[in-house]
Each structure stands twice: as C-alpha cells, then as structure tokens.
C-alpha cells in the first residue's frame, strides 16, 4: 500500500475537519472496497486528471452532513437545506485541494475538477487497476467517509515499453 500517497489525504482531512469542527478527529476504519460504491447520504465527488487519475468521494449520512455543515457555517442548518449539500462539496474541495497541493509539490502534476454532487445510489465498480480505499473519520459530529479510487496514468513512453499502469493502492 502506497501510504506516501494516501497520507496527504489523511493529513488534509485532519487539518480541515479539526479546524472547522474545532475538535480533534481520528481514523475510525480503513478498508478496501471492490464492490460498486454505495452512497451513504450527502456525497460530493471530485475528479482528478493528469499524472494521477480517478475520483474521490466525500460522503456523510444526512444528519451528520447537517451537523458538520452547521459547524462550518456557524449557524444551525436543517438537513434539507441546499447549503448542507454545498458545504459537503466545499469540504471535499478543501480536503482534496490541500492533499493535492502536497502531492503536487512532490512532483505529481494533475488537474482538480470542481466538485460535483454525487446523486447516484451506486457508483462504478472498482477495477483491477483502480481499487477504492475507504477511510472513515470519526469526528465530534459523526462519521465522515472518504472513498478514494485513483491510479497513476501511464505515459506514452511507459505504454510503449509495456509498463502496466500502477494502481493507487497496490494489492500486493
């Protein structure tokens, strides 16, 4: 498992959530997901393209999303409020953006696309090359899930040399 690539996402989630919620968080669980992604509640997806390609989904059940959004907004927001969904998208943007900044400074170059609200109940199944890593962060407002499915994009030279694209998470 390439922890040097995953660690920036953990650090970024810790920094953004701890600051916004003004309380520490911890990693509740970390697992591999080979089945199709199942949305838990309010989910935002950010796509990456470039040296590393794929997507990251940031997912919270509706009551947790409302509590987290309320903390960040500094005012109580009902579950149904559009701002709750907006807040989840912005949190995804901040966490992923902070992680990407670290990876970019390490030499990876890619483009971050604006976050989209993920509305499908199920997402695409993981593939042999892209296996999803699911991180659950336990915060004072509830569980926050981050589902990461990324892979290195091979260059034309690597393809010509027959190099197989490296999975973000090495199954070995």
């Amino acid at each position: 498992m390439k922890m040097e690539l995953i660690q920036p996402f953990i650090n970024a989630a810790d920094a953004v959530l701890s600051q916004g919620l003004q309380s520490p968080m911890e990693i509740g669980s970390l697992s591999m997901e080979e089945e199709a992604y199942r949305r838990k509640g309010v989910a935002a997806m950010v796509r990456l393209s470039g040296d590393i390609e794929g997507r990251i989904i940031f997912d919270l059940d509706p009551p947790t999303a409302a509590r987290v959004a309320s903390s960040f907004a500094g005012t109580e927001l009902p579950e149904s409020d559009e701002l709750v969904r907006e807040a989840v998208c912005e949190l995804a943007n901040q966490i992923i953006g902070n992680a990407i900044a670290v990876l970019n400074d390490q030499g990876f170059h890619f483009r971050v696309h604006p976050p989209e609200l993920h509305t499908s109940e199920r997402g695409p199944k993981s593939t042999e090359d892209i296996e999803a890593l699911v991180l659950c962060f336990e915060t004072s407002r509830g569980s926050v899930f981050m589902n990461i499915a990324l892979r290195y994009q091979i260059t034309a030279e690597q393809a010509a040399a027959g190099t197989r694209s490296a999975a973000f998470v090495d199954k070995s």
């Binding site: 960040f72 943007n93 900044a101 604006p114």
Partner: protein, 146 residues
Amino acid sequence: MEQFPAVKRSKDGQPVQYLIVDDSVFARKNLGRIIESFGGQIAGEAGDGVTAISEYDRLKPDIVLMDITMPQMEGIEAAEKIVQKNPEARVVMVSSVGYQENIVAALQRGARHFVQKPVKPEVLYEVIKYVLGEDGVVASAAGAGA
C-alpha cells in the same frame, strides 16, 4: 465569530468593498461572514471567472477574493484579465489548491496574494491589511485621526 478592528478605506473612511468569487455558495457565505468581521462590505459575488470580470467592471471593488478551481473560466485566468484591464486591481487568490506552482502562476499573472483554504480569519485579516497598504486604515487609528 471573532471580531477584528475594522479596516476602512483611508481616502474616505468607508468600509472596504469586496467582490467574492467562488463557485461554492457555501464558500462565498463563509468568506462574507469573515469579511464582515473585518468591518468590510460585500459589493458583489460571482460564481465563475467570466462573471467575475464583468462584476469587477461594474462594481470596481477595493479587493477581489478569487477562488481558482471554477467552471467556465478558472480564477487565475480571470485575475489576469482583470489586472490587464485594471492594473490597480487588488486580487487575492483564495483556494485550497495551494501548491507552489499554482501560487507562483497566480502571482505572476497579477494576483497580489494567496490565501490557503480553509481560510483562517486572522490570516486573511493580515493579508487584507498588507494588500491595501496605505489605502487601508484600521478603524481605531482612523477614529483617532478624525
């Protein structure tokens, strides 16, 4: 939210006018709350770079707070276009994608400063005072001089 000594325009003692550019309504609202804690006023908002350019022309704000990753036109390109047409424009990039390459590109293309998201109010406050320079004054000093 913590309140800061108000930063006013030194030329007329009026609140500093801000244009907030971010595709996230939530981020715009949060930035708005922070700005109000500095005694500033929101002159306008935009959700993309194209709208930011037209809103700048219409409102001529004192400061633009500009996100980078946005639909239609990204923030760095919008900042460049605003500054090309209005060399006096003060654009501060506010983005989570704060890697060195992006920061350098933004500064080279006309932005005055870069603030990493999540925004810490105390950091933005210092940046605003720095970017305004002599055109801004902290309220207590303004009051003493009035």
